[in-house]
């Protein structure tokens, strides 16, 4: 007797009984989901916050930063403009000729083996001022890569929260890779998408998006109203507040560390070791940016930064250690070569 694979899989999966699996902790599932849906929105805070670095390590202190409200929903706004709702356009006129990917995605064309870029549903978690995103575009009707490689493609990225457009970015970037497969021609380019609010009528944007969950859509051109949209892709903006103070004596004024939770901070024989946990995927890129080494990192693709800053020898490592769900960046700082 032969085994019917499809029937068996359907029967076993769909034949499972109703009821919540006993191993599930639904209170925690709900709580975690609820936290992710919350966007920190606050009015502009007064200045005069306590400075980090002059407070004893035993205390927990938050650096106060101005947190800007998101652009409000504007009823009747043309889809694709700041404050508009784009969900109806996305549902009714989806565009599958555009794809977005987290970070730098390359189509591999070596040795004649065309490999498509794997589809993603999320653009990752970002703590820096920009999200590194690869934009893929399908060139319908193109016979091959050659005629479209140098053709500029104008794209608009729309960042939404709860369906409302809160960020708009227009990009026109050169192609960096591409592939041909099954009659389809795709080109790719990587951009750094600013994580800032869009301009509302009567109010300029440009403020960092508050921590929270967003969805990103993409469309061709920069016309409004938009008539078709690709997406959405999920994007998380990570809180950029440093929530635990660094110990007194650590040269935080010349060695800025990434936001997050300090999980280790100690000094031995004149060398500081500080480890900061952060859930963002770009935590190491942000560490590099704060030290002025972002472009260097792009060029050489290393996972360790070494530099001398005002007489301090600094090493920064992208750690694979895990605290809870977050990986860490480690700083080693001393007055002599490490």
């Amino acid at each position: 007797m032969s085994t019917d694979l499809s029937r068996t899989l359907h029967a076993t999966i769909d034949g499972e009984p109703a009821g919540v699996p006993t191993a599930f902790d639904m209170s925690r599932v709900r709580a975690r989901a609820r936290r992710r849906r919350t966007v920190r929105v606050a009015t502009r805070a007064a200045t005069g916050a306590a400075a980090v670095g002059v407070i004893a390590f035993a205390g927990l202190h938050a650096t106060r930063r101005d947190v800007t409200p998101l652009p409000p929903a504007r009823e009747g706004a043309a889809p694709g403009t700041c404050g508009s709702d784009v969900r109806a356009v996305a549902d009714e006129h989806p565009d599958d000729s555009i794809s977005l990917y987290a970070g730098v995605a390359q189509a591999h064309e070596e040795f004649g083996d065309d490999q498509p870029v794997p589809e993603q549903s999320a653009l990752g978690r970002v703590v820096g001022p920009e999200a590194e995103i690869t934009l893929g575009v399908r060139h319908d009707g193109a016979p091959s890569l050659d005629p479209v490689w140098d053709t500029p493609v104008d794209l608009r990225l729309v960042v939404t929260h709860d369906g409302t457009v809160v960020g708009v970015v227009d990009e026109s970037v050169d192609t960096t890779s591409g592939y041909e497969r099954d009659g389809e021609v795709w080109t790719f380019r990587t951009v750094r998408m600013p994580m800032v609010t869009c301009d509302e009528p009567g109010r300029s944007g440009g403020d960092r998006l508050p921590a929270g969950e967003y969805e990103v859509y993409a469309t061709r051109g920069d016309d409004t109203p938009v008539t078709a949209l690709a997406g959405p892709w999920d994007l998380t903006v990570v809180d950029d507040t440093l929530v635990a103070a660094l110990p007194a004596g650590f040269p935080s004024d010349v060695v800025p560390v990434i936001p997050g939770r300090v999980v280790r901070a100690e000094e031995h024989d004149g060398v500081w070791t500080v480890e900061v946990a952060n859930p963002a995927d770009d935590r190491f890129l942000e560490a590099a940016r704060l030290l002025g080494e972002r472009d260097y990192l792009d060029m050489v693709g290393v996972d360790k930064i070494e530099k001398v800053v005002d007489g301090w020898w600094v090493e920064v490592h992208n750690s694979s250690r895990i605290y809870g769900d977050n990986e860490t960046v480690s700083y080693f700082v001393g007055h002599r070569p490490l």
């Binding site: 032969s2 085994t3 989901a33 999920d234 769900d325």
Partner: protein
């Protein structure tokens, strides 16, 4: 209770065990499957995307389960608040599929590599075409065909003849013979 929480509760109440079974076929390990499903639920329902009902939500959650599985992230957080030492198999006897057959398929799938397992589940449960599987997993069509063919050969070695739809889009020229 917010609308999304109601949808979440409805989905888990009606399809919780099915999602765990789906994830078990992918991961080969039930405890890992339970973690993966819960993480996928947090990922899906932690978004502000409107999920109208449990049916609409399940498609997103199954996709998130696949993503969690393929990402292969090691989580140190464990979800179990209560450890059950008793067997948790709560199968309903299906008149069409024998218990032996069900257990054999699950055991046979567990012998495959993760990529092959994913291809089999996407093909024979999610009913995706080769092209759709290729796009989902980021593989070439030919690679998916090869994976499915290898998986079927391996499963037949364990289960005996398979009455699976080896349609033309997954049949390969046996290049091994040509070498």
């Amino acid at each position: 209770m917010a609308a999304w929480e109601q949808v979440l509760d409805d989905l888990v109440q009606v399809r919780g065990h099915a999602l765990v079974r789906y994830a078990t076929y992918l991961t080969g390990d039930r405890r890992q499957a339970e973690d993966v499903v819960q993480e996928a639920l947090v990922r899906c329902f932690g978004r502000t995307r409107t999920l109208r009902d449990a049916v609409a939500a399940e498609a997103y959650v199954r996709r998130a389960i696949l993503t969690e599985f393929l990402d292969g992230h090691r989580r140190t957080t464990r979800w179990r608040s209560v450890r059950h030492l008793m067997a948790r198999d709560e199968h309903v006897e299906s008149p069409e599929v024998s218990t032996v057959e069900r257990a054999s398929v699950e055991a046979a799938l567990a012998t495959l590599s993760p990529r092959l397992r994913a291809c089999v589940v996407l093909r024979f449960y999610d009913d995706l075409t080769v092209a759709e599987i290729a796009r989902t997993l980021g593989l070439a069509d030919g690679t998916v065909k090869r994976y499915l063919s290898d998986a079927m050969d391996a499963l037949e070695g364990v289960l005996g003849p398979l009455n699976a739809d080896r349609t033309t889009d997954i049949e390969l020229v046996n290049t091994r013979e040509a070498r």
